[in-house]
Symmetry: C2
Subunit: 206 residues, 2 copies
Amino acid sequence: MDQKGILIVLSGFSGAGKGTVMKRLMEKYDNYALSISATTRKPREGEQDGREYFFKETEEFEKMIAQDELIEYARYVDNYYGTPRSYVEEQLAAGKDVILEIEIQGALKVKEKFPETLLIFITPPNAAELKRRLVGRGTETMDVIEGRLSRAKEEADGIEAYDYFIVNDELETCVDDLHAVIQSEKKKTVRNAESIERIRKELGEL
Amino acid sequence: MDQKGILIVLSGFSGAGKGTVMKRLMEKYDNYALSISATTRKPREGEQDGREYFFKETEEFEKMIAQDELIEYARYVDNYYGTPRSYVEEQLAAGKDVILEIEIQGALKVKEKFPETLLIFITPPNAAELKRRLVGRGTETMDVIEGRLSRAKEEADGIEAYDYFIVNDELETCVDDLHAVIQSEKKKTVRNAESIERIRKELGEL
């Protein structure tokens, strides 16, 4: 097995349960690192620099863009969001599988820069369940919920850009499926060129 | 999840432990069916028609070829070997994942006819271990062993034609890896067109 970690993009509808799945994946298996985004938006109550986000001034963020220190970035509603390159590269080199939780536009940019990136889309079992989860949070107005559902319809058009489609019905099953998909990816022939070359060389020397 | 089973070709050096791995996989998980080859070679002692092989007369076998009843076939040393189509198709339709244990020429023919076939190559951890296992069997002359090692060198040239490369070091790990790779394959976006279409339709109707 070649030892470098792999880069994974995880996307999915708001309400698919990505946050819970990621949290449980990190608890259950120790070979993952979760990339932390940089943003220019102000910290909300309880958020901590370097935990939820790396909080940056606009000037700092634009300097990161200029110096190619971000794998991808986007601007939403007057704020920048992006993925710092250094953390991702350090973790991959250390053999960790690094997960970016970003949306499709970012996913496609990452795939362009790093063609070996694994793109995974997480979905609830059906649309009624998605709505139920969004309403069940009880923290958002119906307007916000309608907005998220309308966004989900747009996102659904892009699912074919992803490599894998994982249903989050029961949490533990979803986490184990996600882990199996990522670890199986490491068994791909294209990711084992060194091992294959080694065994060829050994056979030649027998 | 779309419910049809998937077709898997398993190849690997003689001495990689394919037989043991397959036996354990079938014991441990119940969603697999092992395809049984047809052959014109005579049964050896202890072999049973419909268990090790379907034993056929040459005329019968050639009729099967003419009627396109074989997914692939080849002739080795005056005998035909081939994969009967009907069993494979029945098992796939019943949702079983069907495994063919065949060599690279057959693997490539199957992939051509059924592009969604998953090609998996199994290898021992290194060439010294391969030799040790072949010698350890104690049932073959050194001439036969040298022949198998020389064949392994040829086979090693074709590994890149396979999708996955699985090392058989410790049996249970290898079996679980194989299971994870096959089951993860079912999570591929391209294999879930129906489910994706369904959730899109549901979102549109909310």
